[in-house]
Point group: C2
Chain length 148, copies 2
DNA sequence: TGACATTAGTACGACATCGCACTATATAGT
DNA sequence: ACTATATAGTGCGATGTCGTACTAATGTCA
């Protein structure tokens, strides 16, 4: 493969890394003190996808080690934004449920982000991002499969 | 702004976050034990852009706190992949220079990554990534300016 | 020039991430 | 049913990240 192509792929992932950092900082600025993007991500996932998932299923969805998720969930449970219940279908496992406070927490965070989102929509254009989304999904899917 | 648009922007940054995680893991699998993506990123930047930059300039380029970079540079210096010298133009500051070992380290890492890159190029297509790169750069630039 | 504000880098502490090892439960093979 | 293997979750330790506070050097403005 040509150096030019390799360099382009490098720059692509480089930009992705910086955007991840900046967008995470932007999100965390809208969260109450002591909460991180990882907490929001869990609440958002439980809302968007479904309640009652197991920690391991979520760890796979986020591509993080399960020990990392244990820690994140402990923080959310302590703040009473989620509840951990036994999994009736598997004694080893647990299910994670949102509390009312957890739902409200997520909604508040999203409300606080609307001005940020509006700025992005105006300056970048939602359509351009929508056009690029399938590419990102393809790359994510490929990288996920490639890691054996 | 419509919920649909906000949701799309959310999904965009969500994919970016997961890709960052997966690509970092892929890179770190190709580095000698004990070295992280942050180390490679510094060596790569010094090679691609220029030697002799100050730590602060690099922290800004990567959008990380300067304390984080201090730690990363300490690791690289201990491994003798970089040299820190006084900045003749500013007594408070230092300049970071690659050593021969540092240049070789980077080249080895890149060599190890070629098969990964080839897989991406084949499965995703370099052209699609090239087409999306300007969008990523625009988003990165906007987020950088928006954080005041 | 002198007083004050600003900036580069670092020491330190708090905490998030993550690998390893362990327990409890479930599954497979006989 | 019994044994061996695999899986879900967690405790613990190591280390990376980053905020705060500090020192040294520079810039500013009267």
């Amino acid at each position: 493969m040509r150096d030019e192509e390799a360099g382009l792929i490098f720059r692509f992932f480089n930009e992705v890394g910086i955007i991840e950092q900046l967008s995470r900082t932007m999100l965390e600025a809208r969260l109450p003190h002591g909460f991180l993007a990882s907490h929001f991500t869990v609440l958002n996932h439980l809302t968007r996808v479904k309640d009652g998932q197991t920690p391991l299923a979520m760890a796979r969805a986020f591509q993080v080690p399960k020990t990392t998720l244990t820690h994140t969930l402990a923080g959310l449970e302590k703040a009473e934004l989620i509840e951990m219940r036994a999994n009736p279908a598997d004694g080893r496992s647990k299910c994670v449920w949102l509390t009312e406070a957890g739902k409200a927490f997520r909604q508040d965070a999203i409300s606080g982000l609307t001005s940020d989102m509006a700025g992005i929509a105006e300056q970048i254009g939602v359509e351009r991002m929508a056009d690029a989304l399938p590419l990102l999904t393809d790359i994510r899917t490929y990288l996920d499969k490639a890691r054996d």
